[in-house]
C-alpha cells in the first residue's frame, strides 16, 4: 500500500499536470461520459439511506459526494452528473469489477478476498460484530447462545465468524440465514432466532428504528474488527489516491468528526427523527489519528 501513498504524494508534489501522465480508467470514463456512477444503499442507516424527504443521505454518501466535488474541479466539469445506483451486498462487488460503478461508498468491508476484484480506499469506519437480543432473553454474552438459533445475514463476515466461533467452542449454534439487514431484524422480532449477529453499528441503527427500542439491547464483546472502505476499479491507482486523499484530509481537518456527530450522535431524518447513539470507539479514534487503508482480514 505504500506504493499508493507514494503515488498520492507524487500527485500532490508534481501538481495536476503530472497526474495526467498516468492513465486512470475511472477518470477517463467520467470525462468521456459526463456521468459518475456511484453505488449506494437504500437502508443502511446511517451510512446510506433515503431520508423522510426521500433524499439520499448518510455518512458514506457524503464521502462519495466529496469525491464528486473533487472530480468536478479536477476534470473542470462543473455540471458532472451523479448517477446513484442502488446495490445489495451481492451485487456491489461484481458491479464495481465489471465497471458499471465508478465508486461505491456504503458499508463494505475491506478484505483480501475482495481485493482480488476491486480496490479499497482508506478506511472510513471500523466495526465489530456483536449480538442484538431482547432484554428479557437472558442472553448476556457469547457463550449464552450455545444451542440456540442465531440469525446472520447470508454471505457476511458475521456468518463466517459465527460458524467459526460455534465450531471452535462446540456451542452447536443453529445458524439462521437472513437475506438482508431488515429481514435479519425481523427474524429476532418474530422469535425465529434469539439473537441477531451483525456489525455493531447496524445493530444500533436497527434498535433506533425498532417499534419499541427499549425492548432491545446489544451484548457481547465485539468480535473481529472490520474496516469499511470505498470501492473503486482495481488497478486505478490515480483514482484510488484521489479518494484516499479526500478521506485522509477529512480526518485530519476535523471534518470527519463533524460528520460523525451529525450521523451517529444527533437525530437523523428517518421515521421522524431517530438517533443511532453510538459513541466514537477507540478504534475509530486511532483511525482518525492515522488514516490508512489496511484491512483487518
Amino acid at each position: 500500500m505504500s506504493f499508493c501513498r507514494l503515488t498520492a504524494a507524487a500527485i500532490l508534489l508534481l501538481g495536476p499536470s503530472a497526474a495526467w501522465s498516468q492513465s486512470s480508467p475511472t477518470l477517463d470514463k467520467v470525462k468521456a461520459t459526463g456521468v459518475v456512477a456511484i453505488g449506494t444503499r437504500e437502508a443502511s442507516i446511517p451510512f446510506n439511506y433515503l431520508d423522510d424527504k426521500n433524499q439520499q443521505a448518510g455518512l458514506s454518501w457524503e464521502i462519495a459526494l466529496k469525491v464528486v466535488d473533487a472530480l468536478r474541479s479536477r476534470l473542470n466539469m462543473p455540471d458532472l452528473r451523479v448517477n446513484p445506483v442502488n446495490v445489495t451486498p451481492q451485487t456491489r462487488i461484481p458491479l464495481v469489477a465489471n465497471g458499471t460503478l465508478d465508486l461505491e461508498c456504503s458499508s463494505t468491508t475491506n478484505n483480501t478476498e475482495r481485493q482480488r476484484q476491486v480496490s479499497f480506499s482508506n478506511t472510513f469506519f471500523v466495526v465489530g460484530s456483536r449480538l442484538l437480543v431482547r432484554k428479557d432473553s437472558g442472553i448476556r454474552d457469547w457463550p449464552d447462545v450455545a444451542g440456540k438459533n442465531v440469525v446472520v445475514s447470508a454471505g457476511t463476515t458475521a456468518e463466517r465468524i459465527l460458524r467459526k466461533l460455534s465450531s471452535d467452542n462446540n456451542w452447536q449454534v443453529n445458524v439462521v440465514l437472513a437475506k438482508d439487514i431488515s429481514e435479519n431484524f425481523l427474524m429476532v422480532e418474530t422469535g425465529r432466532a434469539v439473537a441477531a449477529m451483525q456489525d455493531d453499528v447496524i445493530l444500533f441503527s436497527n434498535i433506533a428504528r425498532a417499534r419499541n427500542p427499549a425492548l432491545w439491547q446489544v451484548v457481547g464483546a465485539p468480535q473481529q474488527r472490520e474496516a469499511y472502505a470505498c470501492m473503486s476499479r482495481k488497478d486505478d491507482a490515480v483514482f484510488k489516491a484521489m479518494v484516499d486523499g479526500i478521506i485522509a484530509d477529512l480526518m485530519r481537518s476535523g471534518g470527519y468528526e463533524a460528520l460523525y456527530t451529525k450521523y451517529f450522535l444527533k437525530p437523523i431524518a428517518v421515521k421522524g427523527g431517530i438517533t443511532v447513539n453510538l459513541p466514537l470507539s477507540d478504534d475509530m479514534t486511532a483511525l482518525i489519528r492515522d488514516p490508512n487503508d489496511r484491512p483487518y482480514q
Binding site: P25, Q90, A97, E113, V118, A154, G155, R163, A178
Partner: protein, 247 residues
C-alpha cells in the same frame, strides 16, 4: 472490466472452514432437487384433484377449486412464501406459532418452502388438468355414462387417462419451472443452489464463476427433465391423436 477470473475456485477451501467451495454448490443442488421433486409430487396429486373438481357440474366442488386456482395462481410466489413464513405463524394460536418457530431452522424453512411451492404449482397443474379434460370431445363423457359407468369411473377410466396424455408437453414446462422457482427458498434463508452460489460469490469474491456454475447446473437439471418427459411423452402418446402418429 478488471475482473480476475479463477476457475479453480471450486477446488479451493472455503473461508468458513466447511470444506471446498465446490461442495457448497453440491449441497445447494441437493436442496434444490429435494425441494423441487417433493413439491412436484404433491403438486401433481393436489392439482389433479383440483383440476378435476373444476370440471364437475356440482358447484359446491367447482367453486372452491376455482377460488383456489385464482388465489394461488394470481399472486407472486415470493409474496406467498413470505406470508407462509413470517405471517402465518403469527396468525395461529400463540402456542402453535411458537412451536413452528422453534423447529430447527433448516427444517422449518424446508417444510415452508415445500408447502408453498406445492400449493403454488398445484394451481398451475389444476389448470392444465382442467384444460386437458375440457379438450376431450363431449362424446367421451356421454359414452362413458351410456355404458353405465359412475361419474368416478368415467373420470378414472375414460377422461383422466386421455387428459393426462394430452397435457404431457405443457406439464414438462411446469416441471422445469418448479426447479427454477425453488430458488425463492433463499429468501427465507434456505441455501439451495442459487443461495449457495450467492454465498460462494460473497465469500470468495468470484461472483461470475459462481453464477456461471449455477447456470450450467440448472441447465443440466432442466435438460434432464426434458429427456425424462420426452420419454414419458413417447410412451404415453395415443396413436392418431396430437399430430404425427408414430407407433
Amino acid at each position: 472490466m478488471t475482473y480476475a477470473w479463477d476457475w479453480l475456485i471450486f477446488f479451493k477451501p472455503s473461508v468458513t472452514g466447511e470444506g471446498l467451495y465446490g461442495w457448497m454448490l453440491v449441497r445447494g443442488l441437493g436442496w434444490t432437487l429435494l425441494i423441487s421433486l417433493l413439491s412436484w409430487l404433491f403438486a401433481l396429486a393436489l392439482g389433479t384433484v383440483l383440476g378435476t373438481m373444476r370440471t364437475l357440474t356440482n358447484r359446491w366442488l367447482a367453486w372452491p377449486a376455482l377460488l383456489y386456482v385464482h388465489c394461488f395462481r394470481n399472486t407472486p410466489l415470493l409474496v406467498q412464501l413470505f406470508l407462509w413464513f413470517f405471517v402465518v405463524p403469527e396468525l395461529l394460536p400463540p402456542a402453535w406459532g411458537t412451536a413452528i418457530k422453534q423447529l430447527a431452522p433448516t427444517t422449518g424453512q424446508f417444510l415452508t418452502v415445500v408447502l408453498c411451492l406445492s400449493l403454488y404449482t398445484a394451481a398451475k397443474v389444476a389448470e392444465l388438468v382442467r384444460a386437458g379434460i375440457e379438450a376431450l370431445p363431449p362424446g367421451q363423457r356421454a359414452a362413458g355414462a351410456a355404458m353405465g359407468l359412475t361419474q368416478v369411473d368415467v373420470y378414472r377410466y375414460v377422461l383422466l387417462p386421455q387428459a393426462f396424455r394430452t397435457i404431457v408437453p405443457p406439464l414438462t414446462s411446469d416441471f422445469m419451472n418448479v426447479f427454477k422457482n425453488s430458488a425463492v427458498a433463499l429468501t427465507i434463508g434456505l441455501m439451495e443452489l442459487t443461495g449457495q452460489s450467492r454465498q460462494l460469490s460473497e465469500f470468495s469474491a468470484q461472483s461470475f464463476e459462481a453464477f456461471t456454475a449455477a447456470t450450467l447446473i440448472y441447465m443440466a437439471v432442466t435438460y434432464g427433465v426434458v429427456l425424462v418427459m420426452r420419454h414419458v411423452e413417447r410412451r404415453a402418446r395415443i396413436p392418431g391423436m396430437l399430430g404425427t402418429a408414430s407407433g
